[in-house]
Structure formats: structure tokens, C-alpha cells
């Protein structure tokens, strides 16, 4: 799931808890289990009923928070956020939860997703005299809430949400309540659990398991939860909903032990692998997956095809932030840092290499090449998703259209470019069926815009250059 290998970056994970004596510590462990969703920054906001305190920083959860920092966060409710690793931009000011203080109280805000009309809204607000302190989309919500004119926070938030377009899972914390909102398409996953008497809201269910909480249900598209000492209330801020959960959560982003909509990710991926073996069988000696995200699909392919599954590629677990890239000369000598083939496994073998997606194609070419240098006689690439041809505007940092190899080349051209003996992508129909198999084919609604170009929301002017904005 290394950003550097894939070129696909999830944008953020959120976690909230209400009513637990160790709210900050529970949030720390929850965020830690969501770390794969973002490694740039982490933050926790906590309320003790009187005051909201925020601590945050750049880096991993375990780098930002030590025992001292956690001990200083007193209170029975907390929200937390992990932020994805962006190359340049970003910086400390954009680390969430954002914290807005005024004489009438404070507001902490954590967001997973991306708004497509944020720039337009921001310009309007600035023209009315608002001053923005971050370059993050998320701040727009705070200004809309402050200016809504309604009396209660709930009404202010509802009013503000009706102006937002795009993908969002929001957690809002004040001194006395927590609000939770999911966009009308439910583009990002968001689930509810119980931990004793406490309520927990998480981006992925693996966070519930890790803290020992019980899964209750997924948050519904267009739903607004109000959680306070009186309990949890559910409302709808819009009735105009159209379920479209991001397919890439199943294919690539989420942790294998998470479930979305009751479907286990590992199982879904195994099904994707099985489906590939049905759609595109091949004569071969071993099946290997590109670690870590394609292991499940590779096992599925192996089981379906009867070809044995092997560890043909090893990932170095110690690749860190400060890693020195091999010079061009050494790269040509074959110096490998992140991934290496297991020569004894692939030498003299026909290899099926299962991967979950191809973005720019450079990584695939390198891996195919590695396998051949290690002695593979044939390399058959099977991708457990359809070709990515369109950018994502909902919080995934895909390349722009120019960089997407499948937007500009046929499958046969790509096969040649990556040097494979054969290359097959999963069909769109196969994707839907494999994921929905537990529902016996009753289609539940996925966003497949990156494959099909059919976006579930309007697309605004300012989404044309998604890379210039700081989303999430």
C-alpha cells in the first residue's frame, strides 16, 4: 500500500468517540489502525465538556503522539484524523482536525473526501470579508456554519451541508456534542460502533475491531448524526441521495480486515482474483501478488485456477520517508529497494503476476522486468480492476488524465509498454459482480467514475486541476 509504489493515494481517515473515559487514547489506537489511509499528518481534538483541546503534527500517529501528548488530552469525547502523504503542498496548517475558536465556543473539524465546489464557495466567502487560514477545502464548512444565521449548531450544519458538492465524511466536535455527516452519494466509507456505552464513528471497521468495539451499522448517505450525552440522534440533511461508494476502497485502499456495507475487503479481493481466473485463464506455474494490496486477489486467482500461490515478490518493510533513491547508474545496475523478486521461486517458471490496478504503468514495467531478470520465462499480468481512464474528484490523488496510461493507450499498447507476455484487466461487469457476490448480484451502488467517466455528482470548474488544491 506504499504510496511510492502505486501512485494512488487515499485521502485521509477519520475516527470519533463519544462517552469514553480514555477518549484520546482510544482515538490514538483507532487512528493507528487507519494509518494506511494517510501518513502525512495526524491530529486529535478532545472535549472535556468545557473546552476543546487539539494536538496535531506532521508524520505518523506514533510520531506525532507520545504518552505525554495523549495524557494532556483530557475528556470523554474526541475526534481524530490521519492525512495522506502529499509530495509538496500541505504542511502543518492543513493537518486536521482544524480548530476554530471564538468567544461563543469552539469547533473542531475532521474531513475525509474532497469537495468539488470548494473554490467557488471560498471566493464568495472571501468577497464577503472572510479570511481563510488554511489552503484546505475543509475550512469552507466552518465559514459556512459561522455565517449560516441559524441558532443551533445542528441547523447551521444542515444549512451549510446543502451548499457542498462532492465527497465528504465529516466529524464535527464542539464542547458539548459531536456531529457526523456523510455526503448524499456516500462516496467514502463511514461506520458506527459501540464500545460499552460509548459511540464510535470510523472510516473503516478495522478501527472498531482494534479498539474492541462492536459494529452497529454503516452511516447512510445524506445522514446527519448528532451525538451528545443524551445519546445518538439521526437526521437527514437531504433526501436527494444516490448511493455510490468508491470502488477503489474495495480494490485497493481499505484494509483487508475491514468490511464495507457488510462485505469483507479480503474476501471481495479474493473474489476479484477468482473472477480474473474465470475471465482470463492462463497456463502457468506460479501465481504471485504484488504486496501488500494484491495478495488477496492473487490467492483468489490461485484457488480458482489451481496454479500454486507463491511469495514471488518480497517487499522491504523498512522503506521510510528519508530513503535515498538509487542514482540512475545504480538503478541500471538493478539496485532494488522496495520490492525484490524471489529468484528461487520464479526462475524457469511461467509466472502470473496479479496486481490491483495500473496508474502510470512505470511500476508494472519495473516489476515485470524484475521477474524476467530473476529468470521468469513468461510473465502474465492480471489486473483485478478495469483500466483507470479518468481522474477522481472525490479525494483520491490519481494522476491527471495525461498521466493515466489507460486513458491514452489500448490494453495491447500497455502490455507492450510494460513488457508482459499477456495483460488482462478485469471487466466492469466482473468488478460489480465479484464485489456484490455476497448480495447475490443485487447491485448496491458503486462509484466507478475512474473507469467509466460517469461521475455521480456535478463537476465544477475548479475540479479541472485537482492537483492544485489541498483536499481531504
Amino acid at each position: 500500500m506504499l504510496a511510492e509504489i502505486k501512485g494512488l493515494n487515499e485521502e485521509c481517515g477519520v475516527f470519533g468517540v463519544w462517552g469514553h473515559d480514555n477518549a484520546a487514547q482510544i482515538t490514538y489506537y483507532g487512528l493507528h489502525s487507519l494509518q494506511h489511509r494517510g501518513q502525512e499528518g495526524a491530529g486529535i481534538a478532545v472535549t472535556d465538556g468545557e473546552k476543546v483541546t487539539v494536538a496535531k503534527g506532521l508524520g505518523l500517529v506514533t510520531e506525532v503522539f507520545g504518552q505525554g501528548e495523549i495524557n494532556d488530552l483530557h475528556g470523554k469525547a474526541a475526534i481524530g484524523h490521519v492525512r495522506y502523504a502529499t509530495a509538496g503542498g500541505g504542511g502543518y496548517q492543513n493537518v486536521q482536525p482544524l480548530h476554530f475558536q471564538s468567544h461563543s465556543g469552539s469547533l473542531a473539524l475532521a474531513h475525509n473526501g474532497n469537495l468539488v465546489n470548494a473554490t467557488a464557495l471560498k471566493h464568495q466567502l472571501e468577497n464577503q470579508g472572510s479570511i481563510f487560514q488554511t489552503t484546505s477545502d475543509t475550512e469552507v464548512l466552518a465559514h459556512l456554519i459561522k455565517r449560516s444565521g441559524y441558532q443551533t449548531l445542528k441547523d447551521q450544519v444542515k444549512n451549510a451541508l446543502t451548499m457542498l458538492k462532492g465527497a465528504y465524511a465529516f466529524l464535527i466536535l464542539t464542547e458539548t456534542e459531536m456531529l457526523v455527516a456523510l455526503d448524499p452519494n456516500g462516496l467514502r466509507p463511514l461506520s458506527i460502533g459501540r464500545l460499552g456505552d460509548a459511540y464510535v464513528v470510523v472510516s473503516e471497521t478495522c478501527a472498531l475491531d482494534v479498539i474492541g468495539a462492536t459494529y452497529v451499522r454503516d452511516v447512510e448517505p445524506g445522514e446527519l448524526l448528532i451525538i451528545n450525552d443524551g445519546g445518538l440522534t439521526s437526521e437527514r440533511f437531504t433526501l436527494n441521495i444516490n448511493r455510490a461508494i468508491c470502488s477503489m476502497e474495495y480494490i485497493y485502499f481499505s484494509r483487508p480486515d475491514s468490511n464495507i456495507d457488510g462485505i469483507n475487503i479480503h474476501s471481495a479481493r479474493k473474489n476479484l482474483g477468482r473472477q480474473m481466473a474465470i475471465e482470463a485463464p492462463v497456463e502457468a506455474d506460479v501465481v504471485t501478488g504484488v504486496p501488500d494490496s494484491s495478495i488477496s486477489a492473487a490467492i483468489g486467482f490461485a484457488e480458482q485456477s489451481g496454479i500454486p500461490y507463491e511469495l514471488g515478490l518480497i517487499k522491504n518493510r523498512y522503506v521510510g520517508r528519508t530513503f535515498i533513491q538509487p542514482s540512475q547508474e545504480l538503478r541500471e545496475q538493478g539496485v532494488k529497494m522496495k520490492l525484490s523478486p524471489v529468484r528461487k521461486i520464479v526462475e524457469g517458471k511461467r509466472v502470473v503476476m496479479v496486481d490491483d490496478s495500473i496508474v502510470r504503468g512505470t511500476t508494472s514495467r519495473r516489476i515485470v522486468n524484475m521477474l524476467r531478470e530473476a529468470g521468469a520465462t513468461e510473465v502474465h499480468v492480471r489486473i483485478s480492476s478495469p483500466p483507470i481512464k479518468n481522474p477522481c474528484f472525490y479525494g483520491i490523488d490519481t494522476s491527471t488524465t495525461e498521466e493515466l496510461i489507460a486513458a491514452n493507450h489500448t490494453v495491447e499498447e500497455i502490455r507492450e509498454m510494460i513488457g508482459a507476455d499477456s495483460l488482462v484487466f478485469l471487466s466492469e461487469k466482473g468488478l460489480v459482480e465479484a464485489i456484490d457476490r455476497p448480495y447475490e448480484g443485487k447491485y448496491r451502488g458503486q462509484c466507478m467514475a475512474c473507469f467509466t467517466g460517469k461521475y455521480p455528482t456535478e463537476i465544477y470548474q475548479d475540479t479541472l486541476h485537482p492537483h492544485e488544491k489541498v483536499t481531504c
Copy 2:
């Protein structure tokens, strides 16, 4: 495998290269691929023919070395070292390569292993007026060399080595040559490769693959290599050899893509798993391995038994040094940080949990318990090695006898303590056969002292408390 989970720690990895323009950078990548052998500290010594320069520090290779540090290490030959993560002790002074300078030249020293008579030798040297600056065994060799009285370094080293007892793979670098020595039992792995015209010496062959070098052969027990601009010369410093490579290298320590003595580690582990399925079959629904080191054995067990292999346990990749341990209260609530079960996979299932070894038993108990809480109806534990009943004096930080669960309890008692429905360890015979399978049963010589108590060397007084020394 995380030290915290297992309680078994490898002690160090070494890497050397002679005759490459980017000696320091090559060493950096080589050490990086050996990082699993030690995470406490890393160092590189380089010679430009005139001067030996050393850079080292506490932490991972990527933490200790940035581009600047590597650029400052000029020269065509280098040796490097990664050091294992010890709880207390250690510290900067013990990070290797150790560097000894005098008016007649300098000596850098990197060591993998443990000397059993170091304390005795050290006392004798101190009585003769030597001053030690580290608490590391390794320094003894330097003093023996300095005091040997012979004229050439080669003769000084040969003389010094005859006084050492125990396990050692030594790399020695001076301004003008590199010496390599392996103990008479060949307890630690050490291999030779070529990278163009350069010679490379590595603790594990994965380091050869990563830098694009070609494997030549393993270093022989009792062999002394002298490498300089005239090429590589091989000599024997003793004829009294008795091959006994550490079994745990196959079972647990080495990387799956490494080969020792021509045997691939992943394949050896699969064979161990297959052997378990033959020796101790069981009715069950899924096979799962404890990540990462037991995955191969689990796949072997699954293949042999026909029970499907699944990802029943997920390891969090972001567990770092500064990790906050859950408080007792939260641990009782079931907060899990390093490892979590996949509920959807194990719920309602009879699970075979394959692990490579049991040291204290606490981790096994926790994992069995996790699986049950996640809904497993039965948990059958299969360990791909015999019970560890004796301490290791050759560089593995096993617990003392008091802490080794198998030294003090029967298998049935252990089964009950860890809460498994069944527990079977691999037989000693099965271990030998599974690893030697590629040699068709021709026994090649393994050290199995931790299982059998039969140590291949004399054991000295000062090895009774191995934990008080800084080895490696």
C-alpha cells in the same frame, strides 16, 4: 517479525564490498535489505586507499544515513553493519563497525554472532594493560590482533581467531584490504557475490539480489578471505571444522528470498509447513499464519492438507519505536495494536494457526484468544519447529532457561496455557528432513542446540548469563 511480538532477536547483519565506485551507496542498499537482522543501529566504514572513514548512528539505515552522509563516504571499498534492537544496554558506542585508529593505520570491524569466551579473554587483556572502550564482544578481536606480535594483518588475524570460541562472521577493513572470517562451525550465514568486477560479502543472499550482484558461493566454516586490489584469496585459519548452521535462520530469521547453502528460505518454510500437515493433520476450515514469518509455513500446510489458506491475521505495518502501549484497562477492553484478526474470515470457523516458534508463550496465548474472540470455534496451533528448551549462546537473544516455556512445561501444559484446542510442535527429525529435502536427506549439519541442548562448541563460564553482555 517484530521483536516485541516474538521475543526472539537476531543479532546483526554484515555487508562488505571491494572494488566499486559507489561502495558506500551499495553498502547502504545492502544493509537496507538486511534491516530485518537488526534495527538498533547501523554503520558504514569506507576506505579510499589512504584513509578509513566511519559513519554510524542509532536507528534504521534510512534514519542514520541521508544523502549527505553517504556522499561524505568516499572510497572503493566498504563494510557495513546493522545491529539488533536491544531493550536497554548498547548505545552509540557499541554500534558497528567499530573503528580502531593508531599511528600505524586503522582497522574497522563488523561482526555477526557471539563469542562464548569473550569475558575471559577481556579480563586477561585488561590485566595486561588494555583499555576497552565498548562493552561489545567484538572489541576483543581488535585487541588480540594488536597484541599478536605477527607482522602482517593476515597473520595477526589468523592468530587472533584461534583464540576465539563461539559464532562469528567477521568483516575487517583497513586502508588497503578487506578480511572476512567465518567461525569453524559456520554458525552464521555468509555468502560471496560479484557485482561487475567488485567482490561482495553478505549475511544473506537477498542483499546480493537487491544490489544486482551475482551469487558465487557461501563462505566455508573456518575460512579466511583476503580481498584487495589483487583479487580474492582464500585461506583456512583452522582445519578443525564442524558445520552447524543455525536452524533458526531457516525457521525464523532470514528473509524468505534469501538462500542458505543453496536452499531457499521461503521453500524451506513451506516444506516445514507441509511436514507439519503430514505429522499432525487436523480437521479444519481455514489455515492462517502469524505474519510475517509464518506465512510460508502456513501456505505449505494449506497446500499439503487441502484446507484453504486465508489472511486470518493482519499486522499493522506502522508500529514504530515510539508506540504507546495500551494501559491495562484498555488491554482488557481488547485494544490491539500490532496484530488483529479478520473477523469475517475466522467467525464460525475451525482455524489452524501456524506459527514458527514459541518462546515465552504469551504472544501465542494472546493470538489464540484474539481468534476466539473474533468467533473461531476451534483453534489448532501448529508450530513449524521443535520446542525451544535451551538458551542460545551464539547470537540469538532467546530468553534465559527460566523464561522458556518449553523448558519448564510439557506440550500439553503449554497447550492449556495458550488456550488452544490442539498444539503440535514439529519433530526434530521432521525439521532436519524438511530443510534438507532439496539435498534428498543428505544431512548438511545444523545447529539445533536450542531444541536439543547439544552445543557445537565448548560453553564457558561467562556464557551462563548471556543477557548481561553486549554481543554481536
Copy 3:
């Protein structure tokens, strides 16, 4: 000038330059010479005509900025700020220049002083929907500017300034111009210089000398300067001016080599010392000053009285932030860290100890005691300012009234509390005359509110607890 010794803290220094190729570097040196005005944080904002870039951090100028940071600040104009060392509060977000960005351009803001109606203005702005990101008074100006409704920045700023009450020297930087404003009382010093063709604006003239610039004139109370590539324009934003420069700038804060209103600080302090010798002569053997700020006054006293000046007290130059305070037990044993008496100088002598002010009296008591323990037979304390009886609302962190020893005790009581043989404060008349001496008694207008209680501005409700706000 150590905050810890005195209990009086200046609040900030500002520096601006327009039209110099090395604007950021010049600002670095300028801020460095103003470091005595604030050690908590430092920042520089620079414009290249297209974009305003800001770098800042906690700590000294030399800690916040390395060569890399300075090199990254491209542009021909810059403003900078040093912030005073506050015990708690503050933090990174309040370090200046504050930077406000919007789609219509950006605004950087540096402020020396304190607004007395900031809280009232902030509440009104929040009620209108503004969100504040800092707890600093300074941000109020940015919001007033954004909401003023005028077309040009100059008019927006003029309008905003009319709403502010209190002490302020503001530097404002946009992509294309720099604005400079001084409050209608001119409470804080602010001077203009030229460096080649460039314009320079500084809190103290020492910054002009250090960068090799020529002094032009002091900024006038109520003056607004607009500096851009067309040159410097001066306007008035109010005609209701009433000059009242802070007396403590002469007595204590400013550097001895600075001049305010043409009067050199060292010379002014010598005059204060001379005046003391006239008003309160005493029979004694040596005169000594409390370093560093009272040295000039002590020399003046010595010259006027004919008693020799000696280094009777030595200050340790290496007292840093992280200094460990002696435990109570060691303090009783007489452990001294910051200041120590020179026994050979004071032993058996009648000592005149000249200091510039007394705030809480604890430091004075400690120094008198030190001198006695070192053998002084008599200690006569002469303070080169009148008793401080009232809090400052204009940017000096004096204690509240409860803590000010002179607000609650007679001079005779204070003498007894500090253990002196005699104690005399300078008269108010003497203060005015000594400073104005170069003007031959033509009173130029000083704020003496901390001595007299006569404040030059209205005092608002929210100034009653000055310590709860972050000023400057």
C-alpha cells in the same frame, strides 16, 4: 536585559525593507539586532512582486533561520518581527508576521505594541461571522481591513486604524506595497532609514547601524507611510495626535546604541545616573550597576559623584532557555546562576548599587543580599526611574497592580524589604529633565503612566486583565 532577572518584558520589534536585492537577509540581520525586544519567536515575510512568502518559528532569529530558510525567501521587500518571551501562552500560531491569503492577494502583518480595545472589536467581528485563527490582538487589524469596504488597501487600512485604540507600530506587506503606521500617541519607537535606494523601517535605530543604513527620521504619531516601487508617500490617518513615547524605552528596553527622537539611549541613561547623584548623593567607596541595562546609569552616577565605577556584579552570558533552576536547598546554600558579586571588589566597601527599576522587588533583595554576603559593609540602592505603581496597557508585560511592590508599599517599606541601607528612586521631574536634557528642557512628551497612572488613551474594559491576552 534578561527577562528572568527583571520581570519586565518588552513586547516585540519590527523591521521592514523595500527595494533591496537581499531583502530577506537584510531583515535577518536587522531582526538580530532587535533580538533584545523579543526572544520567543521570529518571522520574515518577503514579496517578489508576485507572491508573499512567510517563514517563521519559535526561538531566536539564529535558531529559526538557517542559510536554507533565508535562501528560500526571494524578493526585494520584506518585513520581519521578533516576539517577546512569554511564559505560557503564545505558541507557533501567534508568531508574526501573520499571513492572510485570499484569491485577491495576500497580506502579511507585523505589530509592536498592544491594542486596548481588541477584545471588544473581536467579539463584534465574530458576531458578524469572522473566524479568528490566532489569539493575538494583531489579527483584528486584518479582519477590519478585509471588511472595510474601501477599494484600495491604503483606504482600507486608514479606515481600520481609526477603530483601533492603544499602542501600535504596524508593518503591512502585500505583493506590491508596504504600509507603515504608528499610533496617534507614538507610544512605540519607529524610525526610517535609507540603504542605498532601499527604504528601511525599524523599531530601533541600532538596526539601521547594523545593516549599514543611514538614519532619516522617526515616524510621526498618526502617520501612515505607503512604500512601493514609486517611492515613499506619507499621509496622516488622524490629526488627533498627542505624543507620548514610552519612558521605559529610554530607561530599560532599547539598546544603548539606539537613538529615539535624536536622543542616544546610553547618553540618556548616563544622564539619569548623573541626576540620581545630584538628587540623592551618598558617601560610598564604589559604584556598581546591575548588568546589563544599568551600566550606563552607574557610569553616570560615578562620574557625577566622583566615586569610582567598578564591575561589582558579573552576569553569566550563558544562561539559556533550558537552564535548571537550583533547588530550594541549593538556593539557600547560595548557588547563583545568572549574577554573581565580585568579592574582591565589594569586600569591606560601601557600595552604591544602581539599578533601572524595581518591579516586584525580589531581584533587588537578592542582589543586595549577595553584595552583603560578599562583604559589602553598606549597600545604597539608587533606582534611575520613579516607582512603578501602575500596569502598562501598551505592550509591556509589567506585573498586575497586586504584584507591583511600589503600588502597595512606601519607599521606606521597600528599602526594608530589599535590605538596603538606603533606597532612592529618581523623581518624575528628574526623569523628564534628564532625558530631555539634549533638548534643553523643552518637554517632548513621554508616556509615564506606569509611574503616574495618567494614561494617554482611553482604557477599555478588556484591559483590566492584560495577562490573559496575547498582545504584540
Copy 4:
């Protein structure tokens, strides 16, 4: 006393205490008061009777030690060391106290001075098989002690000391005693004090004052003190003594509040200034000293001559390690960072600029130039010491002969090079008389080798390149 300004560096200060419950904390404060003697590194060794513990690091005392580090140093006796700021070399390994551990006990060593035969001794020891771990002279003593063959530490040390030539003040700490030795010339200052029942040994008496201890006496040349729970015993390790205390301690290095041999440093410097005014009177308007070390001499000159003393030069207190040097271009524009003239004081005036010494002459030229640019009509330079014509081999980092301006130029040439209207150095006779004045001319014995070339010890081959060694 800034190394950068002067080009003369003291080499180290030592502090020891025996018999105090807060030994480490007392040592911390003592070292802090000796910080002017060395800013590169600091260390403390402490014994609790059973074990010697050492903590040390690069940087100032307050940077190396926090409350935690001090709290971890348990014991009733301690020695400490501050090390001077060397440009390159050095590094962590050379920070003292050096700590030598063996199975028979440990030895911590702190040294002020420089051995002239260290290289020769080191070669001999290496030829006998010793391995050195530092590049510091000090380590030679440890090896000599270890190899002496005597039974008791006292005898081992006595034997070792007879082999050393040069300047040394040694503190040695074992688990059960502290040894103190001063070289036969007494080249470095070393004094004894009492703090309650505890014994204290310090490089300068200011450290006694700071911790509240009482001065007892100076250590004698050739004296060895043995301090343990039985009290203090004094022995002589040689009778061949010849007192020659370093003159530069009086002129430049020591703190003004210290006394050497009963003579106060501030008073001695005032006498040097007075003597200058007698030897080389001049018509002028103001006297100013180069801060900080020449202030006392300037006051003396002013008093003797009747010309008023003024603060004509201001030193920036915030010049730190990480300071960015002005580029050539900015330096030409007159950017000054460390020292600035006070224009209002020197403008239109004839200035006497008193400094304590001239090493390379570059600093003097810059200051004279500054004063002229600030408007001084004449600049008369008076140096309160004779010309430095010879290198120091006893622990002062003077330039080599090639760099010493006075070794290669006449006074008239130097005057022209630094641009002064007149330049006079103090006479050798004047120096002796001024310092010995309190003894009424009875010459007490000073080392004046840097002025006269008459070295009080033999000079060895290896002292020819003093800059290549790490002394102290």
C-alpha cells in the same frame, strides 16, 4: 570572550566535588560558571561509591544537561569538564570526562591543559599493543596508569605523571576516590574550596563563589591531592617545580570575578589599563573597551588618564552557533553582527580603543574601521599585553607562527595594517608589574612564552604542529 572575535581559545575548565549530596547538581552550576573556558562540549562523571556514571554531550552545559540527565547522576562525588569550541576536529568521542571501564573498576578523567610529549608517548603505547579510542592527549594518562604496574591508584598515577611533559590540571574519579594533579609549572589555575564538609576543586575561583563555597587555597605546582571519605591528603609527585602561571589567564581568559594566586582578575586588568595610560598617554575625548574582556582595562585607562570611559562599542548578546555570516556583498555594505559602534558616542571624537591582545589583526582592523565609519576623528589603539610572537604549547589555541601578526611585523607595520592613528602594546615589564602590584613587585612567576619565546618546559617534536592534535 567570543572565540570568533578574538581568535584565541581557552582550552577547557574542570570542576570536582567530593562529599555533597547533590554532587552532580553542584557540578552543573560550577561548570556553568566556567562555561567561558569552553563551549564545545560538557560532561559530568559521578560516583555513588559503587559505580561511576558519566553523562556528556556536545554543546553548552545548559544544552547537554536537563533536569532528567542531572537527576540520573546519583552520588556524593563528581568531576566535570567544559571543552573549548574547536572549528573542525573533536566531536563527541573527545568530550570529557573520558571514562575507562574494566573488570577491576572504572576511571573518569578530566583535563585542562596540553601535553607536549603526548604523541611520542602514544606511539610507544601503541607499539606495545594499546588501542586508543580518542584523538585526545588526555587518554595517554589512562594508558600510563593502566600499564604502570603499581598496586594502588595513587602510585600508578604518580608514576604516570612523571612521564608527562606540558601543562595539566587533572581530575581523576574512581568509585571510591578523587585524585587531583597540577603540572610542575602550575601553568593552569586550579583552586581548592570547602562547601560545608565537602571538598571542591575548580579551574577558577568564580565557581566557588557561584556555588557558595569558601576559598581555601590554590593547588601547588607538582602537587597531588587524594580526596576520599577519609578526607584530603596532599602529596608531591615531583620536587622539580618551577612556577609559571599562564599570563593570558590574567589578561584575557579568566572571568573578572575570579582570583588567581590571590589576585583578582578585574583588578589586575584595571592595573594593566592604568599601566598603559602611564606608558603610552594620549590626547583623546573618550576611552572605550572592546567588550567583554577589555572593559576592565579600559576603565583602568580612563581612571588613570582622566579621559571619560564610554560604551563606544556594543556587543550583540544573541550571536549563536548557527549564525549566518553576511555575504561578501553585504559585508561591504557594512553589515555588522557581533559588534557595533555607538555613533552618538564616537562621532566627532578622538577615541582610545583599549583591547587585550592582537592575534591576527583582522578583528582590530575591522573595529578601527567601524569606529571611523561611525565618525571617530582619531582612533588610538592601546593593547593591554605585549605583542604575541610565539605559539602556545600549553593549551591555548593561538595561531601558528605564520598567522601571528606580531611574529612577522613591526608595531608600526601593524598600526598601519589596522589603520589606527597610534598603536602601543604594553611592555613586558609593565605586564609583570601591573599583575604583581598587589605583591608589591615580588615576582611570583608567570609563563610569558607567547611574548618572549622562553618556554618553561622542554619542547618536543610533536608540538610543532599543535593544531593537528586534540588537546585539552
